[in-house]
């Protein structure tokens, strides 16, 4: 018990003093996950729009495929990408294993289905009238699509927040693809795993607090956005 208290006190100390090693790790975590979400978002929104408003064969099958992919375990993604990127793998020439870009790829695969699923249900709430009104007022199909997206913007922001929350908290893919290299690919979750296995709890707890706080904040934002979307 006293060990837990001592470690927590130490952890708070680290956070308050702005321990550079700690903040580097936090920075890497946010930077990698943000890149993953931002790269995925445009494509995910486009697909979600097609699924919500397009009329083509196999649309329903695609929707359920993306819903199924929500259950993709992070370690399995990590394993697959690891094998693809490893020196002997088909994409070994890209030399992306144990790099931040490799981590971004893994996280993209993880957050993409979530982005599609949530933005799909948001875009579904936009009526056909929205699209028709835009088109009849002279908007090009692309402009009309952007208009529809703007009309459900709160839902789309909610999709961004939820997927960011998912990838920033995952361990499996980051650990296997990134390799937990200090100051390069060590992020919050892999650091916690490492420090805990070493028995150095203070840094682990400090990082845990950051993760917890950001998760709370994100979920608060998510709730706010969803409320705002529902109000209109």
């Amino acid at each position: 018990m006293s060990q837990l208290l001592d470690s927590t006190r130490e952890a708070l100390g680290l956070l308050i003093t702005g321990d550079p090693a700690l903040w580097t790790i936090i920075h890497i975590s946010f930077s990698v996950s943000l890149r993953a979400v931002l790269v995925s978002a445009p494509f995910a929104f486009l697909i979600a729009f097609a699924l919500a408003h397009g009329r083509f064969r196999g649309r329903r099958a695609l929707v359920s495929t993306f819903n199924t992919l929500l259950a993709l375990p992070a370690v399995v993604v990590g394993l697959t990408v690891y094998m693809l990127l490893s020196r002997n793998g088909p994409l070994g020439d890209w030399k992306l294993l144990f790099t931040q870009t490799g981590m971004v790829i893994g996280q993209i695969i993880l957050c993409f289905p979530l982005l599609v699923a949530i933005s799909h249900s948001a875009l579904q709430t936009a009526e056909r009238r929205t699209w028709e009104t835009a088109i009849t007022l002279g908007a090009s199909p692309l402009q009309a699509m952007l208009t529809v997206m703007y009309e459900v913007r709160y839902g789309l922001v909610a999709a961004l927040i939820a997927s960011f929350g998912r990838v920033i908290a995952e361990v499996g893919a980051s650990m296997m693809i990134g390799g937990n290299i200090l100051n390069y690919t060590r992020n919050i979750t892999t650091a916690i795993a490492l420090e805990t296995s070493k028995g150095a709890f203070a840094q682990g707890i400090a990082l845990g607090i950051i993760l917890l706080l950001s998760a709370l904040l994100l979920n608060f934002g998510l709730g706010f956005m969803q409320g705002k979307g529902a109000m209109r």
Binding site: T130, I135, T136, Q143
Partner: protein, 457 residues
């Protein structure tokens, strides 16, 4: 710009044929009121015209340039603006909504601001410019939608039930705006199930009419009254007309001009006469219809002939000849409806083409009975039974007649029963209802005509 659509075909969501329209032309600056039952495809038709829904088949003509609907698509989307029954407001300010189209067209911001301000002034919405458009009332939304469309100077404006679910004040303001759009030379098509809207706004009425199982086509039931133009010609910005004037136009629409048009029903198939055109059968050297015209001329103001075959021969008599407005050989009710739509009288007198001995007192007696009983329909009776095709019918029944035909009704008696109907006894004119159905009857009638002639000399 003249705009026309040809061979418009569309199915409904169940895959059944919905409508099949040979020609739908939109003269420049005209206001067409489009009516039709629920499910007849009014909204679908408008969306096809606006390039928002893909028809099974359609050809489009701009001026005289003819092309497929697909090839015309971008031009349709540019030139035609469709307004939903409940207009969609973008989640932004009223000014933002009005400027939407201009912004998408790449018009510079400063110019958009000026034009939006001008447009909002035009529609009297300036005070709402900064409000979120979603928070407006239904009537205000409709006016924003009209303003948003007008600022793009479309060639054609399609209004889907623009006045439904609106209180009186909002309606009047909307009507005023629509009228002013018309004065600016923008063609409009308005769908409505309220017939009197046509009086307030339209100069042509078309009805999407059922002509077979799950198939609709366009008929043109009304000719419009002079009184309406008067209302429409009011200067922009003038206050909505006094009640007095409105009442006048209302009566004009429902009752038509104060005169009487005879409709000779010659549209039948004459199955028992080997399909000969009955009206043209010669009796002692003169076509049967000539006897009828002679008898009717002194009794009525105008004559219209309803026929479906040998139109040129009928036209020789110098009177308008109208074909059935729907179906193929649906019977005398369609002939009556066709006659009503082809004239502007407040009442018509119908007679069949195969009864040559029309009594000289037919119109006056039917009229008396109509007035005394305040009836919509006045029918002759031969002393034993009703003779339904010898009738005087008020224009005000036309909408009900079209609705009845739309529902598949073909029986005269059943439709008459829906109205205040008066019957007049003509048992003192025993020959009046003799008609020719067989060659034997023809010989008898010819003999009778010869006898009558002899009696006169």
């Amino acid at each position: 710009m003249g705009l026309g659509f040809y061979h418009l075909r569309m199915h409904n969501p169940r895959g059944e044929k919905l409508f099949d329209i040979d020609e739908f032309d939109i003269p420049q600056g005209s206001c067409i009121v489009l009516s039709g039952q629920n499910g007849a495809g009014k909204t679908t038709l408008l969306k096809i015209l606006a390039g928002l829904e893909t028809p099974d088949h359609a050809e489009v003509a701009f001026d005289s340039q003819r092309m497929s609907w697909k090839a015309a698509l971008s031009r349709l989307r540019h030139d035609v603006v469709y307004l939903h029954q409940q207009p969609y407001m973008f989640d932004q300010s009223v000014a933002g909504n009005v400027g939407y189209g201009l912004a998408r067209a790449g018009v510079p911001r400063s110019e958009i601001a000026t034009r939006v301000a001008e447009a909002l002034h035009w529609s009297g919405l300036s005070h709402l410019a900064d409000h979120n458009a979603r928070e407006l009332s239904g009537g205000e939304k409709q006016r924003v939608a009209l303003t948003r469309a007008r600022i793009l100077s479309p060639k054609l404006l399609l209004l889907d039930e623009p006045l439904s679910n609106m209180d009186i004040g909002a309606r009047e303001q909307t009507i005023l705006l629509i009228r002013r759009l018309k004065e600016e030379g923008i063609s409009t098509i308005i769908t409505s199930h309220e017939p009197h809207i046509s009086t307030l706004l339209g100069d042509e009425h078309r009805h999407l009419c059922k002509t077979g199982p799950c198939r609709y086509t366009i008929v043109r039931p009304f000719l419009f009254q002079r009184g309406i133009e008067q209302v429409a010609r009011h200067p922009a910005g003038a206050p909505v007309d006094s009640n007095h004037e409105k009442r006048n136009t209302m009566t004009a629409d429902t009752q038509g001009t104060q005169n009487l048009t005879a409709v000779i029903l010659a549209g039948g198939m004459a199955r028992r006469m080997d399909g000969q055109d009955k009206g043209l059968i010669e009796l002692n050297g003169r076509a049967m219809i000539e006897y009828i015209i002679d008898a009717l001329k002194p009794q009525v103001d105008n004559i219209v002939i309803n026929a479906n075959r040998n139109l040129e021969q009928y036209e020789r008599y110098g009177y308008p000849v109208v074909k059935d407005i729907m179906g193929d050989y649906f019977g005398p009710l369609v002939g009556m409806a066709s006659g009503l739509q082809a004239c502007d009288s407040n009442r018509i007198l119908t007679v069949p083409c195969d009864s040559p001995f029309v009594p000289p007192v037919l119109a006056s007696r039917l009229n008396t009975a109509m007035m005394e009983n305040q009836a919509d329909i006045s029918v002759a009776n031969d002393g034993e039974r009703m003779q339904p095709v010898f009738a005087m019918i008020r224009r005000s029944t036309l909408n009900s007649l079209l609705a009845y035909l739309d529902d598949g009704g073909r029986k005269i008696d059943t439709w008459y029963a829906e109205h205040q109907t008066a019957q007049t006894d003509f048992s003192d004119w025993p020959n009046a209802f003799i008609n020719i159905n067989t060659p034997q009857e023809k010989v008898m009638v010819e003999q009778k005509i010869a006898d009558d002639l002899q009696g006169q000399t």
